[in-house]
Amino acid sequence: MSQADSTMEGHATGLTVGPAFSIPTKKLAIWLFIIADTMTFAACLVAYGFLRNGSADWPRPFHSITNVALMTLILLTSSLTMLIGLRAARAGGKAGAFRWTMITAVLGILFALLHVREWLGLIHEGMTLFKNPWGNGLFGASFFSITGLHLCHVTGGVIALLAVGVRYRGGRYNADDIEVLGLYWHFVDLVWMFVVPLVYLLNLAH
């Protein structure tokens, strides 16, 4: 082996040995996904804000906060149950971790059902992607796209919770996989903290 080969090999080895930031690769991957997804949601919310700020007749169709408050409570509680599941998994309590992961999934399903019920109510009142009875037609497009994107994340998260939970119980996945899934689920919760004030509360009829 020439000295040049040796040097290059040594250089490459120095760059690639060990995961970046000394954290597990799966966790790094989900964090990079979360950063990228943050940009997606942020772009949607900024575009929504741009439209809302630039429109003279932006609708304020929400008369009650009961449904959205309940949805918020459910999603925040699901983050707590996810944490309890992770702690159980770390402690080696396989049954407990599975149970709390499934409870989290059920809360996610409940959230999605409430969301769909709200959508159906708005559609029943005449709101579509392109028009609504209250004002600027772009409200429907922005409302359905932002909340729909979030609902897609919740739905995907529920499917992942069920799949990872079952495979964890079967021994194919371990506590690290629960943690990675938990990071995603908390992120979905975090996004909701911005969707609620911007999309719902600022459009509350007074």
């Binding site: 940009m39 700020n53 630039g54 409570l73 992120f187 903290m193 609620v196 004030p197 007074h206």
Partner: protein, 104 residues
Amino acid sequence: MATAEASKSGGMGKDLVVYVCLLALAGFQFAIAYQHLDTSQMLLRMLAVAIVEAGLAVLFFMHLWTEKRGFAVFVLVFTIFVLLTMQYGWTDSTRMVVGAPFSK
């Protein structure tokens, strides 16, 4: 998770405290919605509360607090930088109220 890291992340008690704080902050957001404020003031207050909520969730629920410092700095600096650069178009949206292509 290593024992030291587990110790640093605290127990279930800390999770519950953060959960209650998040509920309280979410409730505060709902209370702001019923105050008689103009939209920009309401937006600023709600966003401020949402940022605090997000900070709590990222640091304690997502355990960024216990990650390697270099990683936490990477995540926060990169994310906050891009989020801030997205805000450059707001002044143009204000012009739109007069220019009005979206308000028809």
